[in-house]
Symmetry: C2
Subunit: 194 residues, 2 copies
Amino acid sequence: MYELLYKYIHNKTGIDQKAFSEFCYYFKLKKIKKNEIILMEGDTCKYNFFVNKGCLKFYSINKDGKEFTRYFAFEVKFGTDLASFIDQKPSCEYIEALEPSEVLMISREDFFFLVDTVPQMNLIYRDILEMAYKTSQMRIYGFQGKSALEQLKSLVARQPKILSRLSNKAIASYLGITPYTLSRLKAELFKEHS
Amino acid sequence: MYELLYKYIHNKTGIDQKAFSEFCYYFKLKKIKKNEIILMEGDTCKYNFFVNKGCLKFYSINKDGKEFTRYFAFEVKFGTDLASFIDQKPSCEYIEALEPSEVLMISREDFFFLVDTVPQMNLIYRDILEMAYKTSQMRIYGFQGKSALEQLKSLVARQPKILSRLSNKAIASYLGITPYTLSRLKAELFKEHS
DNA sequence: TTAAAACGTTGCGGTAGAGCAATATTTAAA
DNA sequence: TTTAAATATTGCTCTACCGCAACGTTTTAA
């Protein structure tokens, strides 16, 4: 149950099993059905989620009812609505499982208790903040001024398995295009590769 | 010289003049000419800049030679390429003065010395990190799926003076559109308001 | 003060992507 | 296993924005 989380924290901090076992029980296992929503817009995000299995989609819905995905969290990744989690104020996004999933969840209170008392968890939090910022920057600089086809190519380059694992709808909402356009782009990509 | 910086830190932390005066001299005044570039892409960003007067533009140039602006720092704002500043690795962006400007600059070494020794500066750094993240999120969620006109309107709503203070070229590169399109949108905006 | 350079506006045609509709394919439920 | 529902593909038309070109306006520098 805690193997992946241990591996994750060990890789980032060099923690040993004994130290890990002293706090890992703060993380609770939760099974999530496909398409189950674990955070609604407007609710306060009370947990940080570590994905053991499956995939979470973090997205918002704009005034025209269109979905925009900020982030997919696959196995061995943390994910939460940081702004809501940190300040305990209403979230602007939804979190939903795209597959039957298992997460290790930890409450804000417990999480910050560990951040303040376990040096390795302090490092992990710092890493989470830095990655969150860098990921945001990448989305701004990496996509701006690029055609949809170029964006798709760079997504595939970074995460080759993503195309076969996620639906067109999900990927399109991440790229900010329609599923129609994505379908056409995939056809083009395939043409180039043959 | 330090009035604005004192005001800024006082507002965020309640610091008093005496405590402030014990470390403010770590910030050095620098005057920057219009169009002067104070960070080049590829160089390591060694300083954090607090704008006393004028305006800094933070932007990158893509492979087609097009400029994309991430952030404008006006008076009473901090700005730096955080990723480069934190890790002391090559920057992906340029920093340039859009007006004759004055900044208070502090080196990475001194900055983190203060963050680690002055509680109020620790708070300031946390605030900078959080704002950087939230600003990024706003750019992703606030712009995606919106027409250029809607983006322009929300920019004007947030910073009404920006249209008259900055050139079309600067604003267009922030919105990810061409100056031609911006010019046409401004005409449309004006039509609506009459 | 004046000439040159930079910037802003607008007409025009071109293009990427949107979105409907019709069909094919996959997935899920009974 | 069969059928319904969700998803994917593709032709067609439409629109927002691009980008050139030509012209007007403002800024800058000598």
